[in-house]
Symmetry: C3
Subunit: 395 residues, 3 copies
C-alpha cells in the first residue's frame, strides 16, 4: 500500500468535481475518473482507519436507510460507512410508518430529510420499480432543497435496485484493482460473469448487470454467459457492449459456461432469474397472486434444473488462467448450503478469504461516495485530516 | 432572520427557569414566556445549523423513544433532535421486550433510564390512557432519581397523547410566528381549526385539541368548527375558552366550516373521530372485540359521509383573508390520496411548500425543549456555543 | 466512594492483562483478579459519569447486538455501555437478514464485523446451543482478524447464554461488594440462591448457574436450594463446589428453601425450569412440535404447583441475618404481577430500590469489560481521561 500523502495526491489529480452533491444510482452515470476517485477515496479511508486516524467529518447529522428487501452485509456496510464519517443511521421501517396512510413519496422523502445528509435505498424486488422510486426520492429532496424546505441536499446511494447494485460492483472493482495491482492492470484481463445453478429462484439481476455495466469500462474483456432464456435487461447488455468498445475491451455473450471460463483471469459465477420470469413475478407480486407465484416458482425451479451442470467446479477452474473466484455472497455452495449449487465446496474454500476481502471494500466504497458527494474539496480535507491525525480510538 | 447574538439576548430576557428538568406533556402546563422560550430556542438552533455551528452538548447519553402508534415525521424529528444535541436514540420496541412478562411501568421506566437523558413517548390510541401512562413514567423516573437509582432525571417529551400533541402544535406556532413576522403579530389574527371529511376514521383528537389549547394563548381569535357530534374532549374546549379570555383573544365553536373560514388568516382543516366514537373504540380495543370494531368503523364512516362537503375548497378559501393553509400531514387530498378528502388538490398544491416548512420546525422544537430542560443556563451556553463556533460539518 | 485517583491506582495493582482482546463468555474463564478488575473499572466509569467526565474512547466504531430472545434491561445496558465509550449500536435482526438464505455463522460473523469493535449476543433458549454459537462466532472473527479480513478483533460479550449470564452475575457481584463495603467483606457471608415458585415456565437456568459459578469464588458460603428434580446443569454444580473449595468458602445444595435462608446475608429467590424440562423443551422447539410443547408446559406448570410454598415471604426473611433481597428482575410478585409468585409484595417493596440499584450496575459492568478488552493499558488511559476531565455534558 502506498502512503497516505501519495494516495491523496493521486486523488487530487483526478477530475471528479461532478460527484459533489450527486447521487449514486447507476455506475454508468459516472465517468471513469469519477469511479476511480471513489475507489481511491475508499482506499484512503481504509488506510486511515488502519492507521487509527479519525475520518469523522460530521459532528451531527442523519443517514437514512430504506430497505425494501432483506439485507445483512449492505445494511452493516451502510451503517459502518455513515458511522465512520460521524452520521447516525435511522432506518425508515415502512411497516412502522404512516406510509400506508396515503403519504406520497415526495412528502415522505422531505419529512425524513430535515436533518439528513444521505439516504440509502434498497429496492430490488419489482422489475421496473426500484430505480424509478429512487429517482422520485432524489427529485423530491432536491426540490425540497431548492424551495428552502431542506437546509442541505440529501444525496442518494442505491443499495441495490432492479437495474444496478453499484456499491457491490464498486467493491468488486476495488477488489480486482487491489488483486491485480492497479487499475491500469485490468486492461486486457478477462472476467467471466456467468450464470450458475441454484436451488432457489427469483434472485435479482442487478449484480450481473452491475458487473457487466462497470467492468466493461476499464479495458477488460468481459464474457457474460448464461443458459438460453436467462438473459438480462436487454438495454444493459447493449450498454456493456458500447462501454467495451469505448475502452478497447471486449464484451461477449455466450451460452457456454466453459467458453466464458476459458483463459479467464477472474470468474463470477452466480445465479439469477431469467428476465422474463422476473417480469412475470413482478406482475404476480403486484396482484398478490400467491397461487400464481407458487406456480411460477415451481416452473422456474424445474427449468433451472435443466442447467444443474452450470456449476463452478475445480475442473472448470482449470480452464481459466488461474482465475480469481468472486462472489457477492452468500454463495450456494454444493454440499454445504445446498445439495447442488453455484460452486464446488473446494473452490469456494480456497477463495473464501478472498470473497471476504471483496465484501470488506463495501463500507469504504459507500463512505467514499458519501464524502465525495458531501465535501466540496475532498482532497484538501483528507490531507488536513491525515496531517491532524486525530485518533479514531484512544486505547 | 435576526443575527444569533440578538436572538440569544432576547431569550436571555425571558423567564423560563421552570423548564429546567421539567417534562413537556401539555402545552397548557407551560407559561406563555416558557412557550416563547421554546420557540425562540428552536429558532436559534435552526439558525446555528444553517450557519454550520455545532450544538452538540452531549458527548454521550441516550434518548429513548417509545412509539405505541405508527409514526414517520415525529420519529425522525425526535431522532434528529436527539442527534443534533449529541444523544443516541434507542427505541423501546415493546414487542421485543419482556414488558409482557409482567414488568410494571415503574420498573421498566427505571430500567431503560440508567444512562437516559430524555424519553419521548407516543401513546394516542386509547382515550384516557396515553397521558396517564406518560405521567406514570415521569413519576417513576423522578422517584428513581430521588432514590439515587438514576444519576439524572430523564425528562419526558409527549410525542402525541390522547390529549395533546405539543411538538406538533409548537411547530405549528413557530410556523405561524415566522409567517406573520413575530409573536406579537398573532394578536387579533383569526385561525380556523376545522373538522374536514376523510374516508378513514379513528384519527386522534390530539391535534385539534393541541391547536385550540395553544393558539388561544397569544391573543388569537380561534374558531373551532365541526359537524354536530364531532366535539372534542369537553374539558379542552373549556380550557381554550378560558385561555382566550386571559389573553384578549376569542374562542368560538361553530358547526359551520364556512363561518370558521370567514375572514380567517390561517385555516387548519383536518379530520378527527368524534369523541364518543373514540370512547367506544377504546372500550372495544381493550376487549379486542374485532367484530365490534368493524361495526363501529362501518357506522362511523357512514356517519362521516353525511359531511363530505366539509372540504377545504378554493371556494371556501376565498372567504378567508388570504389565509395560510395548515396541516400536520399527511393530508387526505381529494383526487390524489383519496377520492374525496380534507382538501382540494389545488389548495394543497399551492401550500405544499408551506406545510413542509411547518413540519420542518418539529425537530428544532423538540431539540429546543431538550436543551431547555437539561441545561441550567441555556442562554449562556448558547452564547458560548455560537462564539466558539465549532463546525457541525467540516467539508 | 473513594476518589478516582485512588480507584485507578487500585486497578493498576491488579493483574488483568489477559482480558485484553478476550471474550466474556463464562465468568469462570476469568481469574479472580480479572473479575475484580472488571468490577473496579465499572465503579470508575460510574464515578466518572457522576462527575461528568467523558469516557468516550471511540470516535467511531460499531457495537453489534444479536438478540435471539427478548430483552429490555440487557438491551439498554448494552446500548448504554457502547454509547458511553463512543460506539454506535447496530442490531442484527435475523428476521431482516439473509441468514435464512443459507449464510453460515462464519460468514455472517465476518460480514457484520468489518468496522465492529464488540459483539453482544443473547442466545439462551436452546440448551446446549447458545454457548456453542457464541464460541463459533468468536472463532470466526478471530480467524477473520488473523487472515487480514478484519482490521480488529471484535470481542464477544455473552448477554445470556444457556450456561451463564455473566453481565448479570457481575452486576450482582458489584452490588454485593458495594452493599457489604468491599470485596474482602464477602468472605464468610452466606448467600442463598434458591428456586422460587412462578406461574410461568421455561425460565433459563443461566441466572442461578451464573450466581453459583461466580459467588463461590470469593470465600462466600453459597447455598443452592431447589425442589427435588429442579437441579441445574450438573457440571455447573460441580464447578461451584470446586470453586468454593479453592477460596475457603462453602457450597451446599439443599431441597429446603428454609435451610438456605437460615442465617443468610443475601437471598436470591428466583424461578427456573428443571434441567430435564429444558432439555425436553429444546428438543420439541427444534422439531417445532407445538402440541408437544403445550403438553410439556401443562405438565411442568402442574409440577411447579406442588412447590407453591417456595415463596420469599416475610416469615422466611426473618430466618435470615437481615438478608439483602436480590433479583435480576422482573420478579413475579405475589398479588402484584401474579396471584402467587416468587416473592411476597411487602418483601419486594422493601427492597425495590436495592433491586433497581443492582440492575444499575449492568451498563457499567459491560462498559468496563469493553474497555478492558479493547484498551492495552486501561489504568493509564483512565488516568489520562480523569485528569483531562473532558465533560460528558456541557450544560
Amino acid at each position: 500500500m502506498k502512503e497516505l500523502p501519495a494516495l491523496i495526491e493521486e486523488l487530487e489529480n483526478l477530475n471528479y468535481k461532478n460527484l459533489f452533491q450527486s447521487d449514486l444510482l447507476l455506475t454508468w452515470e459516472k465517468s471513469e475518473t469519477e469511479i476511480e476517485a471513489i475507489i481511491k477515496t475508499a482506499g484512503i479511508l481504509k488506510e486511515m482507519r488502519l492507521k487509527n486516524i479519525s475520518s469523522r467529518i460530521f459532528d451531527s447529522g442523519l443517514a437514512v436507510s430504506i430497505f425494501r428487501d432483506k439485507s445483512t452485509r449492505t445494511r452493516f456496510s451502510f451503517m459502518g460507512a455513515a458511522n465512520l464519517l460521524g452520521l447516525a443511521v435511522q432506518d425508515l421501517d415502512e411497516t412502522k410508518t404512516q406510509v400506508a396512510h396515503g403519504e406520497t413519496v415526495r412528502e415522505t422523502a422531505n419529512m425524513i430529510s430535515f436533518l439528513t445528509e444521505v439516504i440509502g435505498i434498497r429496492d430490488d424486488i419489482f422489475l421496473g420499480e426500484g430505480h424509478s422510486y429512487m429517482e422520485s426520492v432524489s427529485k423530491a429532496v432536491r426540490e425540497g432543497y431548492r424551495d428552502g424546505v431542506l437546509p442541505q441536499i440529501p444525496v442518494l446511494v442505491n443499495l441495490q435496485s432492479d437495474i444496478d447494485h453499484p456499491t457491490q460492483s464498486l467493491a468488486d472493482l476495488a477488489h480486482l484493482i487491489n488483486y491485480f495491482g492497479g487499475i491500469e492492470n485490468l486492461k486486457g484481463k478477462k472476467i467471466a460473469m456467468t450464470w450458475a445453478y441454484s436451488p432457489s429462484y427469483g434472485k435479482p439481476l442487478s449484480v450481473p448487470q452491475g458487473i457487466i455495466g462497470l467492468m466493461t469500462r476499464f479495458g477488460m474483456n468481459v464474457s457474460l454467459a448464461y443458459p438460453e432464456g436467462y438473459h438480462l435487461i436487454p438495454e444493459i447488455e447493449t450498454l456493456a457492449e458500447e462501454n467495451s468498445r469505448k475502452t478497447g475491451g471486449t464484451f461477449q455473450v455466450t451460452n457456454s459456461m466453459e467458453e466464458a471460463f476459458n483463459g479467464a483471469d477472474a470468474v463470477y459465477p452466480k445465479s439469477w432469474a431469467p428476465y422474463e420470469v422476473m417480469e412475470e413475478r413482478t406482475a404476480l407480486l403486484k396482484e398478490k397472486d400467491t397461487k400464481g407465484l407458487e406456480e411460477l416458482e415451481r416452473k422456474a425451479l424445474e427449468n433451472n434444473k435443466r442447467f444443474m451442470d452450470w456449476e463452478c467446479t475445480e475442473e472448470l477452474m482449470k480452464k481459466t488462467n488461474n482465475a480469481l473466484y468472486m462472489h457477492c455472497l452468500p454463495a450456494d455452495i454444493s454440499g454445504v448450503s445446498c445439495e447442488h449449487g453455484e460452486v464446488e465446496a473446494s473452490v469456494f474454500d480456497r477463495y473464501r478469504k478472498e470473497t471476504y476481502m471483496e465484501a470488506g471494500y463495501k463500507p469504504y466504497v459507500i463512505a467514499a461516495f458519501m464524502l465525495l458527494s458531501k465535501v466540496k474539496n475532498p482532497a484538501a480535507l483528507l490531507k488536513k485530516l491525515t496531517e491532524g491525525a486525530k485518533k479514531r480510538f484512544i486505547g
